[in-house]
C-alpha cells in the first residue's frame, strides 16, 4: 500500500537524520531516489532547490512534495506523519532522561561520531547533485566538452560568494536560477 510505504520511508528518514537540515538530504535521496524510485535524481534536485527557497525544514518540505506527487494530499499527510513520529518519541524520552541524568556521556559520544558521518554523507549527496548539474543525466566523463559551462560558472561564482561574502544561500540559489533563465531566453532571441 502506497500510504504505508510513504509512512515507512519517511519514518526511517526521521529516525536516522541526525544533525539537522542538510543531514536529512542524503537519507531522502537514498529512500526516495535509490530505494523506492519515486523521484529521479533530477526531480530530487529540483525538490532540494524548492525546499531551500521556501520556509520550513527541508525534510517536512520533502515529505509533502514527495507525498503529493505520489499519492496526493493523503500521501503528503502519511509521509509527514511518518517523519515526525520518531522525533516525538525520541525527543520526549530524551527530555525525560535529561531531567534524570544530565550528564549523558554515551549520547554525547554518539553525536560526536555522527557529526563527521553527516558531513561525509552530505558531501556524497552534494557530489551526485554536482555531477548531474555539470554533466547532465549521462553522468561523469573525462571529456571537458561535455561539461555545462554555465552551470560550472554559476557553481564556482555561488561558492565564492558564499565563502567570501557569506551571502544568503536563498539569494544565491535564486540569482543562479534567474541568470540561467535569462541566458536561455537570450540564446533563443534572434538578435539580428
Amino acid at each position: 500500500m502506497i500510504y504505508l510505504q510513504l509512512f515507512l520511508s519517511f519514518f526511517q528518514i526521521g529516525l536516522f537524520s541526525f544533525g539537522g537540515g542538510m543531514a536529512a538530504m542524503p537519507l531522502i535521496q537514498n529512500q526516495v531516489v535509490d530505494i523506492r524510485g519515486w523521484l529521479t535524481l533530477a526531480e530530487f534536485t529540483d525538490l532540494i532547490a524548492i525546499s531551500e527557497i521556501t520556509p520550513g525544514p527541508i525534510a517536512i518540505n520533502s515529505a509533502t512534495f514527495v507525498g503529493t506527487q505520489i499519492a496526493g494530499l493523503p500521501g503528503a499527510l502519511a509521509s509527514t506523519f511518518g517523519y515526525i513520529l520518531p522525533s516525538c518519541v525520541i525527543v520526549s524520552s530524551l527530555a525525560w532522561l535529561y531531567g534524570k541524568y544530565r550528564e549523558l556521556t554515551a549520547l554525547k559520544g554518539v553525536l560526536a561520531c555522527l557529526r563527521p558521518t553527516a558531513v561525509a554523507l552530505i558531501f556524497s549527496a552534494g557530489l551526485s547533485v554536482l555531477v548531474l548539474s555539470l554533466w547532465g543525466t549521462g553522468g561523469f566523463t573525462w571529456d571537458a566538452a561535455s561539461i555545462d559551462f554555465l552551470a560550472a560558472a554559476l557553481f564556482a561564482a555561488g561558492l565564492f560568494l558564499l565563502r567570501k561574502f557569506k551571502m544568503n544561500p536563498v539569494l544565491v540559489i535564486l540569482v543562479c536560477g534567474v541568470i540561467s533563465g535569462i541566458c536561455q531566453w537570450a540564446a533563443k532571441v534572434d538578435w539580428l
Partner: protein
C-alpha cells in the same frame, strides 16, 4: 501554564508564524524561537530554552520540529506539544502542496527548466559551502578518530554504496563505545 483556548491559540500562532517565515531550517529558527518564547512572551526562562535547544539538536529529525515539541510539552503537556507540532508543520505542508501542483504543470516549460538548472548549480554551491564549514571544524579538532570516520564514511557510502542506515548505526555505536571507554581512561579521542 493554564490550558485555555487563548493560550493554545497563542502557542499555535507563535509556532505557525515562526515556521512560515523562517528560511534555512533549524539553525536559523532557534534564535528566533528564543526571542519569541523567552524575550517576548516570557513563557520560558533562558536556561530552559538552552536545554531545549541542546535536546532538539541531539535528537534525529528536524531541529525546528523537535524544539516545537519540547516547548509545547513544557508549556501545556501532550496537548501543547500537539498544537506546537501542528503550527510548525502546517505552513510547509500548505506551501509545498501548492508548489507541488504547479511543479507538475510547469516543470517541462523551457524557461522553468532553465531556471531549475541554474538553481541546481546554486544548490551545489550551498551544499559544498555547508560541507566546507562543517568539515573544516572537524579537521580543526586535529583528532584522528573523527577525521578517519569522515573519510571512511565517504568511501564506504559514495564508492562502496553501503546502506546509509548501516553506516549511521555503526558510527553511532562506535561513538557510544569510544566515549564510555574514554571516560574510564580519561582520554579524549572524540
Amino acid at each position: 501554564m493554564e490550558k485555555n483556548l487563548k493560550n493554545y491559540f497563542r502557542l499555535f500562532k507563535s509556532t505557525f508564524f515562526l515556521s512560515a517565515f523562517t528560511f534555512g531550517g533549524g539553525y536559523v529558527i532557534i534564535p528566533l524561537m528564543k526571542k519569541k518564547f523567552v524575550d517576548e512572551l516570557e513563557w520560558l526562562e533562558e536556561e530552559e530554552m538552552l536545554n531545549i535547544v541542546a535536546m532538539a539538536q541531539s535528537s534525529p529529525g528536524a531541529v525546528a520540529v523537535n524544539a516545537a515539541i519540547l516547548v509545547g510539552w513544557r508549556l501545556m503537556g501532550l496537548s501543547g506539544a500537539s498544537v506546537a507540532i501542528a503550527g510548525t508543520v502546517l505552513p510547509p505542508l500548505v506551501t509545498l502542496s501548492v508548489i507541488s501542483l504547479f511543479y507538475a504543470v510547469f516543470r517541462h516549460n523551457a524557461a522553468v527548466s532553465a531556471i531549475f538548472k541554474g538553481m541546481t548549480a546554486g544548490i551545489c554551491a550551498v551544499i559544498f559551502d555547508v560541507v566546507i564549514s562543517m568539515g573544516g571544524k572537524i579537521l580543526k579538532t586535529k583528532k584522528p578518530l573523527p577525521i578517519l570516520i569522515m573519510a571512511g564514511a565517504f568511501v564506504v557510502y559514495y564508492v562502496l554504496r553501503v546502506n546509509v542506515i548501516h553506516i549511521i548505526l555503526f558510527c553511532g555505536a562506535l561513538g557510544a563505545l569510544v566515549s564510555l571507554r574514554d571516560k574510564k581512561t580519561g582520554k579524549e579521542r572524540i
